[in-house]
């Protein structure tokens, strides 16, 4: 299926951009008229994925974070967040709740949050090459949503 709209953005992995990234994705997804809860879920998941790029992929260095977001007529949202950082040697282990390689104060819940707040999560990674996280969520159809460009 062809997306009805799509955005691509890239930015340096500075922590100040975490807020920008989730705000930008949520502003784009707003075209599907999501509920406050749905927007909050997407914002949180994006924040987790971007934070992973900053804290883990590009630890002690600044690299580029790439975000692609596509929205579909049926309410589907696909967000892909990609980096060219250190990569994850053991994805299964990295996705375990409470697992973290950071000595900083991290809960190790990033992937658990993405999994729980989105419908689907796919992670692919190559050590030394980078990581790509693809998340999918269905925005529920609400009564009157189809007429949102019409009256009221």
């Amino acid at each position: 299926m062809k997306p009805m709209n799509e955005i691509n953005m890239s930015f340096p992995s500075c922590s100040a951009n975490e807020g920008f990234a989730r705000a930008a994705v949520s502003a784009f997804v707003a075209q599907l008229d999501p509920t406050i809860d749905e927007i909050c879920d997407i914002k949180t998941a994006v924040s987790e994925a971007v934070t992973n790029c900053i804290v883990h992929a590009y630890r002690n260095t600044i690299g580029v974070v790439y975000i692609n977001c596509r929205i579909f007529e049926n309410g589907k949202v696909i967000v892909k967040i990609r980096d060219k950082g250190c990569g994850i040697a053991n994805i299964k282990q990295a996705m375990q709740p409470m697992f973290t390689t950071s000595e900083d104060e991290r809960a190790g819940l990033g992937f658990a949050v993405m999994e729980s707040f989105m419908d689907k999560l796919h992670v692919s990674s190559k050590a030394g090459k980078g990581t790509s996280v693809t998340m999918q969520k269905m925005i529920s159809k609400r009564t009157g949503r189809q007429e949102k460009n019409g009256q009221g």
Partner: protein
């Protein structure tokens, strides 16, 4: 993001406002810890009434303050938790470490 600290009757209340993520968590942590390590409160109350967003960095922040308070056997309480943030708090199971109140202490005591 900002933190307002109130110390009264051995209780340190940190009124948080804005968005809590990896970027802002460090500043919040430093502000709370510098005061808490001086006054050694019996209880640390984290007030979320003005928090618009929190990701798992906030979980790390709460767990870290719990560990700090443990040093002098103090406790941590979370109050005025907005519904969108309570989900991530329960996902992390923080209600096992801290008292979680949807309202503030004064409202629930009545």
């Amino acid at each position: 993001m900002s933190v307002r600290l109130i110390f009264k009757d051995e209780v340190l209340t940190a009124v948080l406002s804005g968005e809590i993520d990896h970027h802002s968590a460090r500043e919040i942590r430093d502000e709370i810890d510098s005061t808490a390590s001086k006054v050694h409160p019996k209880k640390l109350i984290l007030d979320f009434s003005n928090v618009q967003f929190m990701d798992s960095s906030g979980i790390g922040l709460i767990m870290g303050r719990y560990k700090l308070m443990q040093i002098w056997e103090g406790s941590v309480e979370i109050q005025n938790l907005p519904p969108n943030i309570s989900r991530i708090i329960s996902l992390a199971g923080l209600e096992h470490l801290c008292t979680v109140r949807k309202e503030s202490r004064n409202e629930t005591d009545e």
